[in-house]
């Protein structure tokens, strides 16, 4: 493999260890004298705790310690914080009831943590937990967002009598109402964006160690952003000095958002490690993951689109009730607001948009960011409305999209965002070509001859990645910065370690970032190693979420590389006896143009570390640079998805025949990795549309889809071979011209699938997940109506 590396599908460096069992996940790390933690969880959705009796459990074999909420309260341990303040339409801050690490007198969802048992073995911890006697006073529960504000609904938190954290709005309501009043056509849809359970292949896990020698802690945890984890845990909950806690997120087996957050379990065992003065390990079992990992989506929405007689969009009006679950998780408040309503312009020139969001507490697992986080929900609103409007007005869905498409950039939307660049027509045209839209009607007829129903659906999405800049985000309520840090370290012999605040848990940063660095420095890609996931080694970091790693983390590295080259020029100037302004750097070589004088970057690095011939009076030795990068804007990946389905009307079974995704992610560093990200995202989006639906029993608040026996994850044979391509418009405001690709598949695809199914069935709407039974029932009620 030769330079330039950017643009080449280099095989992933990390896969050698992942595919040969050489990865080091949190559970692979063990400490001498380690103990094991097991969390006793609430079997009830809503209950007061009258008493907890621990005497029998404490006497059980192998028990090292048992702690409850009372112990944490006595030790003045804080509650889990929320990282984004949303202001209510009435001007008040959102209601932010405490989220205790262990229940304080009350449990609010099935799976809420009640006690932790620490024992010599996990089995002993479980045996002891079974001996804890908790006397519950069971209360009525409310689980559905639509029910949370109804009179008489169970109330979860003191001081929140209507279960409402906030009502929030964005956009010009008056202008929107006026446009609707004059519109020739209004398309209205009411639907639920179904609740999803993330299910990374590696369950959450943590190992907490306390050192009496220097009163410090080391926490290994399966997490997407170790510095944020440390900051939240130390400053907001445990009151520990940040420099005394090292957080390491080693190899992490998938996150999809669910490992961004600070959870109770790792916080409690970190605290407990000092109490028992032994290392404590906790590994979540899959059954507990369903009850303890933040869920995603769960919106109830009414959406309307106003059009003039030609199909030009005049306005959009959206009302959403978002289910937050029982507590505010780390970024829960920002997902149905800042990451949702701002995306409602989509790819269109809709001049006026108004969105109102009511966020409610229910007796369910907290809901937070899950692959796409707000943007899939927004895309679903926009793309279902557009497709439905096209059908209602007898305009082809592609034509209606083109008619309203944004073509001039930069484009300021009516919902706060300013798109820097894009070419929506290019992705749509290519997707239509690859999906052979022209031949669809013939295929539909062939299918009909076989007794099957074919349908075609579009989704042309926009997303906003690399949430930024920090000052604007701060003004919108973010309680953290949104930059990224990077460090590039030359070693004396010319190899390079790159330290990034981004975190790879499947994305392939070790390869992609190395490609970028190797090209920029003109050195072999195998001479570059990328280090991530350790607060003890990385200067700082905000981690990986929101498709931000390359756009923000990669840009920080680019800034550090610029500093390396600038210093390298000074060193080279000294070695070549020239002025540093005369030095040119290209393909790994510093030279003086027009002369034979040159030094490789390896020679320069050696001189920097063995400074025998070196301008020590003017320049520090060493070649090691850090940079922080705070973006000036979001990036705006966009694309066109086309889904073709075939339905068996006798059983209702839907088969995705073909799925075409043509995306604009800006410049592409490694096409294979990008394609892999798209495949995974599509699987999750198609999973949401066809298979995945988290169901709670409305009466008892029990999670009915509590295992893989009932929660349907998409599998390979549920999916077609995807047709994936890219069209590039480079991002205008970051040095790599990249936009981000991690979430696009999950953002665009659900609407495309449902648009295809409703097309096949000839109905306006169908609920997600569109299971065979749901499709069959839709056909039944349609034939009854006839």
């Amino acid at each position: 493999m030769n330079a330039p590396y950017i643009g080449q599908s280099i095989k992933r460096k990390e896969d050698q260890r992942f595919l040969t069992g050489g990865g080091t996940y949190t559970d692979d790390v063990s400490a001498v004298n380690q103990t094991h933690a097991y969390f006793l969880r609430s079997p009830h959705a809503h209950a007061n705790i009258r008493s907890i009796r621990l005497d029998q459990a404490r006497a059980a074999p192998g028990v090292v310690g048992i702690f409850t909420g009372a112990d944490l309260a006595a030790a003045k341990v804080g509650t889990l914080p929320c990282g984004w303040l949303i202001t209510d339409v009435n001007g008040q801050p959102m209601k932010e009831p405490p989220h205790p690490c262990l229940a304080q007198g009350k449990v609010r969802h099935v799976g809420d943590q009640v006690a932790v048992v620490i024992a010599e073995t996990l089995n002993q911890a479980k045996d002891a937990a079974a001996l804890i006697e908790v006397d519950y006073d069971v209360l009525p529960a409310v689980v559905n967002a639509a029910d949370a504000r109804k009179p008489g609904a169970a109330v979860l938190h003191d001081g929140v009598p209507d279960n409402t954290s906030y009502v929030w709005a964005l956009g010009a309501k008056d202008a929107v109402d006026k446009a609707f009043a004059t519109a020739k056509h209004v398309t209205t849809l009411e639907f639920i964006n179904n609740r999803l359970i993330p299910n990374a292949i590696e369950p959450r896990a943590a190992l907490a160690q306390y050192s009496r020698a220097d009163d410090s802690y080391t926490v290994h945890v399966a997490n997407q952003n170790p510095h944020v984890e440390r900051l939240l845990m130390t400053a907001f909950v445990l009151g520990l000095p940040e420099h005394k806690v090292r957080v390491i997120a080693p190899d992490v087996g998938g996150g999809f958002g669910s490992k961004i957050f600070l959870y109770a379990e790792e916080t409690v065992i970190t605290w407990a490690a000092k109490q028992v003065n032994r290392p404590v390990k906790w590994v979540c079992e899959r059954s507990d993951s369903f009850l303890a990992d933040a869920h995603g989506r769960d919106h109830v929405t009414k959406a309307e689109l106003a059009l003039d007689k030609n199909g030009t969009f005049l306005a959009m009006r959206v009302q959403t009730t978002a289910n937050l679950g029982a507590y505010l998780s780390t970024f829960a408040s920002s997902v149905p607001t800042i990451l949702y309503a701002t995306l409602l312009a989509g790819q269109y020139t809709t001049p006026a948009i108004y969105c109102e969001v009511t966020a409610v507490f229910t007796n369910t697992v907290p809901v937070d960011a899950y692959r796409g986080a707000g943007r899939p929900e927004a895309t679903y609103v926009v793309e279902r409305l557009v497709e439905t409007a096209a059908r209602e007005m007898n305009i082809s869905p592609a034509e209606l999209r083109r008619k309203n498409s944004i073509t001039q950039f930069p484009y300021q939307t009516p919902v706060a965002l300013c798109y820097d660049t894009g070419n929506y027509e290019a992705t749509l045209a290519q997707a239509m070509k690859l999906a052979d839209v022209a031949g669809f009607e013939a295929r539909r007829k062939q299918a009909a001859d076989r007794g099957k129903l074919r349908g075609l659906g579009y989704s042309t999405y926009i997303e906003a990645c690399g949430l930024a800049p920090s000052n604007i985000a701060g003004a919108l309520g973010a309680r953290a910065g949104l930059y990224e840090a990077g460090e590039v370290r030359f070693h004396p012999t010319g190899t390079v370690s790159v330290f990034t605040g981004s975190h790879s848990h499947g994305q392939g940063h070790e390869t992609t970032f190395a490609q970028v660095v190797a090209d920029k420095l003109g050195i072999p890609v195998e001479n570059v190693d990328v280090v991530h996931g350790d607060t003890g080694r990385i200067p700082f970091g905000m981690g990986t979420y929101g498709s931000r790693s390359l756009a923000v983390g990669g840009s920080a590295i680019m800034k550090a590389l610029d500093k390396i080259i600038a210093k390298g020029k000074k060193i080279a100037a000294h070695l070549l006896e020239a002025s540093d302004t005369d030095i040119e750097f290209k393909d790994g070589v510093f030279s003086v143009p027009g002369t034979e004088k040159k030094k490789t970057i390896g020679e320069v690095a050696f001189a920097a570390y063995v400074p025998h011939n070196y301008p020590l009076d003017k320049l520090e030795p060493g070649l090691n640079e850090q940079a922080f990068y705070d973006p000036t804007n979001f990036t705006y990946p966009a694309g066109s998805h086309i889904c073709e389905v075939e339905i068996d009307p006798d059983t209702g079974a839907t088969k995705v025949i073909n799925f075409t995704a043509v995306d604009d992610f800006g410049n592409v560093i490694n096409p294979m990795i990008v394609e892999g990200q798209v495949h995974g995202g599509l699987a999750q989006g198609i999973g949401q549309a066809l298979l995945e639906g988290c169901v709670y029993d409305a009466a008892s608040g029990q999670l009915l889809t509590g295992s893989y026996m009932d929660y349907a994850m998409p599998r390979a044979d549920d999916l077609p071979s995807f047709t994936v391509d890219t069209r590039v418009t480079a991002c205008t405001h970051n040095p790599l011209g990249v936009k981000g690709c991690g979430e696009a598949g999950a953002i665009g695809s659900p609407a495309a699938v449902i648009n295809a199914i409703t097309d096949a069935l000839g109905v306006k709407d169908i609920a997600m997940p569109a299971t065979a039974q749901t499709v069959w029932r839709t056909l039944q009620s349609k034939s009854k109506k006839k």
């Binding site: 089995n123 045996d127 059983t651 893989y708 349907a712 299971t771 065979a772 039974q773």
Partner: protein, 267 residues
Amino acid sequence: MHTFDYHRPATLKDAVALLKKTENARPLAGGQSLTPALKMRLAQTPALVDLGALEELRTIKLEAAVLTIGAGVRHSEVAESKDVKIGLPVLAKLAAHIGDRQVRNMGTLGGSLANNDPAADYPAAVLALSATIHTNRRSIPADKFFTGLYETALKPGEIITSVEFPLPKRAAYVKFKQPASRFALVGVFVSEGGGQVRVAVTGAANSVFRLKDMEKKLGEKFAPEAIAKVKVSADKLNSDLHAAADYRAHLISVLAQRAVGEALGGK
């Protein structure tokens, strides 16, 4: 997992003796249902008697009119067996689609029947093919074997040794999978042979059952259209998260017609 004693006897005689020795001891076949239940602490036993070393339960024998499969034969072995493929190809195909590869490499015919999961595939085959279940004590006709939800005619300490399948003139099994577990949401096994037609349904009720109305119509004319109008009652069918009883009843009708078509060589 709670602790238990583990035994792995080499002979059926020793296995029976061990089961008798400890009260509530459980026999372990392929372990694809019992082991997860033990791991999740949903089941508990003082002793597990692993039948995995009983070579006498692992034979497959094809004769002129009968295929006999040992209770310890694994699903993957049934799926791959030349004798099964020649004598009773429908069973090889059924076995090839049980669970996933890992399950098929461990799970056994006897284990599946003794467990009688209401959505398991093998009970439908055994019932529709009018098989005979042989145990260490007796022979039980299929019609008497499946008695209810996870219930069978087996007595404590009784071990299935083999299953004898009379070879049908034609047969087919069509399964519609529950999307999450991939067990049968509804599975219909149809067979014609020995002068009778039998239709067995799995996945739809507490336990596998026969549809005698359909059998009668098919006895008159073995063709999909013969049963197209046979009404399937939803009365005793399951309603759950994945399918209400009326949808299951509808699927039974659709799948039965497809199975007949497939048995006739339509597919």
